[in-house]
């Protein structure tokens, strides 16, 4: 009789996988595609100014100290939500370089006039070229770039107040 016990193995396996599937259905799906460029040097790029108020952005601008590279757009609603946090980071002495994705100069200017301007430079990326080159999958996203121009950290989505200390710590680590 005892030797028949192994006959239950397939059923037990089936029950295990059915249970696993049911459990996974209740888990929240991770929708984010993370960049696999962390630890890699910033790819070469040189973008024209996104509007006449600030210079454009290039890889050559990322030397000497860590900076934030903020991927955003004037048509992006979460970018409005993170604007105050970018201001807070700027107030802490952080230099933020922006890349405006698929944006028009007049829209960029209107956005900055309305929600504040935390940037020192904004490059215009009308065909998401640089966004694809650094493995960014949407707006807004914020990368920590160290003094040597290496990508150190990626924050996906809008920056909340609770994310600011983490970003400051990552900037400190990138020194």
């Amino acid at each position: 009789m005892r030797s028949r016990l192994y006959l239950w193995v397939p059923l037990a396996l089936f029950a295990f996988f059915a249970g696993l599937a049911a459990f996974m259905l209740t888990q929240e799906k991770d929708q984010f595609v993370e960049s696999t460029m962390i630890g890699q040097p910033l790819p070469a790029f040189a973008l024209k100014p996104a509007y006449e108020g600030l210079p454009g952005a290039a890889k050559a601008d990322f030397t000497g100290k860590p900076r934030l590279l903020n991927i955003w757009a004037s048509w992006c609603l979460p970018c409005i939500a993170e604007a105050p946090q970018l201001e807070a980071l700027k107030a802490q002495g952080v230099e933020i370089v922006g890349i405006a994705i698929r944006d028009k100069p007049e829209d960029v200017a209107a956005f900055l006039a309305r929600h504040g301007n935390p940037y020192t430079r904004i490059g215009s990326d009308p065909i998401s070229e640089v966004q694809l080159a650094i493995g960014s999958s949407g707006v807004p996203e914020t990368f920590v770039i160290d003094a040597a121009g290496t990508i150190r950290y990626q924050h996906i989505g809008d920056i909340r107040e609770s994310d600011v200390p983490k970003l400051l710590a990552e900037l400190e680590k990138a020194k």
């Binding site: 929708q31 595609v33 993370e34 960049s35 696999t36 460029m37 757009a73 048509w75 992006c76 609603l77 994705i101 698929r102 944006d103 028009k104 829209d107 009308p126 065909i127 998401s128 070229e129 966004q131 694809l132 080159a133 650094i134 493995g135 999958s137 949407g138």
Partner: protein, 142 residues
């Protein structure tokens, strides 16, 4: 009155459209390459690359602006003489295996390929033993 309510409701549905950009698509987002051979190469590749923005569609199937920008990358790179395999590697280096629909053997995926082979070997082993034994039994009886 009903018309006005309906218009309002429809206008509300249209609200998310405001979250789209108003820029024209990238030059090669919707324009095929002149050389039909190169376009066929690009098209085959685009059908096996995942749209990062709309993750259950390939970039060939998606109308998302980002998919258009990815198609532009594929076509300009093909035009510049890069091979489809090189372009796939370029994207995988940025987004991981997830961006490619083409199954690839890697450090994390090799069990998927190894397990079926193991199972077939196991079954073959069991069958050989059983059938071999039966034939042996038959031989004994004869």
């Amino acid at each position: 009155m009903i018309g006005r309510v309906l218009a309002l409701v429809l206008a509300l549905f249209a609200l998310p459209l405001g979250a789209q950009d108003s820029m024209p698509p990238a030059p090669y987002a919707y324009t095929q390459l002149d050389d039909p051979r190169l376009e066929a190469e690009a098209s085959a590749l685009m059908h096996t690359l995942r749209c990062i923005k709309c993750q259950s569609q390939s970039i060939a199937d998606s109308d998302a602006p980002m998919a258009g920008d990815m198609r532009h990358q594929v076509r300009t790179r093909i035009l510049a003489g890069e091979s489809p395999a090189e372009i796939r590697r370029w994207l995988i280096a940025r987004y991981g295996d997830y961006v490619s629909y083409e199954p690839e053997v890697s450090a994390t995926t090799w069990p998927l390929f190894a397990v079926p082979v193991l199972v077939v070997l196991l079954v073959a082993g069991v069958l050989l033993r059983r059938l071999g034994k039966r034939r042996g039994d038959a031989g004994d009886a004869a």
